[in-house]
């Protein structure tokens, strides 16, 4: 327990546990956590874990992430566990789910895709063609997108 308590418990907010070690910064990017908000954020990385060897943990105070926001994490932290905290207790547990389509989460990374014109108004759509192995393609141009490319192209 003392090992786990690297940061203090939070009163209200969201705890994202079991993030793959080293991925917490990407998780923050995907959640648009960039310091422009004033709520406290605690981040611990490379914590020893009996379950997965080593993990990252992110605690976001005074903000309850919606299911839609959490589902964005499916690409990099599909097995993260989510707890919504209210008054120091776990009020809800949530699962991350990778849906069949990522809408307006990332742009297609192919340089000649029609969606590269920033003035085109239709949503950016990446389709999950297969979950295992993970295969994601742009709904317009059909080009395959790697997780790395998607993270580089987050909206």
């Amino acid at each position: 327990m003392s090992e786990m308590r690297r940061v203090s418990a939070i009163c209200n907010g969201t705890v994202i546990d079991h993030i793959p070690s080293g991925s917490a910064v990407q998780v923050m990017r995907m959640l648009h956590i960039d310091g422009s908000h004033s709520n406290p954020i605690s981040l611990v990385m490379n914590v020893p874990s009996s379950k997965v060897g080593s993990k990252d943990v992110l605690k976001i105070e005074d903000r309850e992430l919606s299911q839609e926001e959490l589902d964005r994490l499916a690409l990099i932290a599909p097995s993260a566990s989510i707890a919504i905290i209210r008054n120091y207790g776990v009020a809800e547990k949530r699962q991350i789910e990778l849906g069949s389509e990522l809408v307006n989460i990332a742009r297609c990374s192919f340089f000649n895709c029609i969606t590269q014109n920033p003035n085109e108004p239709l949503p950016h759509r990446l389709q999950v063609v297969s979950q295992d192995p993970l295969e994601i393609r742009c709904a317009y141009c059909g080009r395959a997108q790697s997780v790395g490319e998607i993270i580089e192209s987050l909206i």
């Binding site: 297609c108 590269q116 014109n117 085109e120 239709l122 317009y140 141009c141 080009r143």
Partner: protein
Amino acid sequence: MDLITMDDLTNEEAISLLDDAERLLPIARGDAYLPLLKGKVLANLFFENSTRTRLSFETSMKRLGGEVLNLSEVGSSVKKGETLYDTMQMIDGYADVAVIRHPRQGAAQYAADAVQIPIMNAGDGAGNHPTQTLLDLFTIRQGQGKIDGLNVVMVGDLRYGRTAHSLSHALSRFGASLTLVSPEPLKMPSEIVRDLKSSGCHIEESEDLLPAISSADVVYMTRIQRERFPDEAEYEKVAGIYTLKAEDLRSVQSDMMIMHPLPRVNEIHPSIDATSHAWYFKQAFNGVPTRMALLCRSLGIDIPEAIV
């Protein structure tokens, strides 16, 4: 019905379109007139030049009594910064069906998502050109009497040539054996070869044309384009390495078909034109009945069983 990629059609739907195209042949040739599309308007949206494809759609529509809008102005609206979305909103109000050719990949699907009217993809960047594939299948069936289980040799630029990619995929769905003949730098991308193999297609790759054609049912030639090469010397090394002349055809099957999406440069010597192996001009004409069938299908117009 939109037609963006060949994946939009099941094998059965593709065959049924070929059957429709066959019935429309007398109209395509001008031997019969049946204004099935009278009162309908086709918008030809060519954001990139492709005179052959545009004319083929135009004559298809007109032979069926329909009207055609050629939006030569769209080029200028793009230069003024109009989005494809906005252009499509305007077209949605003017036409019943639209054909789109665009330099950007995904443009046809994007256009289809932006409007209600059916959209046909006539080429989007390096992406799809399904009406070409359908007319190729139609031609193959005309010459061989079937499209399944054929021995097909694809020749030339198999790396960038979308015609070759799309036709290979379609033929693999019909159980073809493919021989891919290209110079090393223009080999078919390995992920496409992998896809074809995993769909059960027997694939051989080679750099030599003549040994490959002796047992072929179809030899599909493509152009090697200068602009694919960073420097002239690299281009000169492979330019013209695959040329067929009448004397090369001595030991081929009597019904072997030579096809080419045209225009040709020097891939097929004119000495072949008069032989029974020459199918490329018929192939070009076949764009008309095939596109007629597609226009009718997309507009929900049934084609009579017998046209006289």
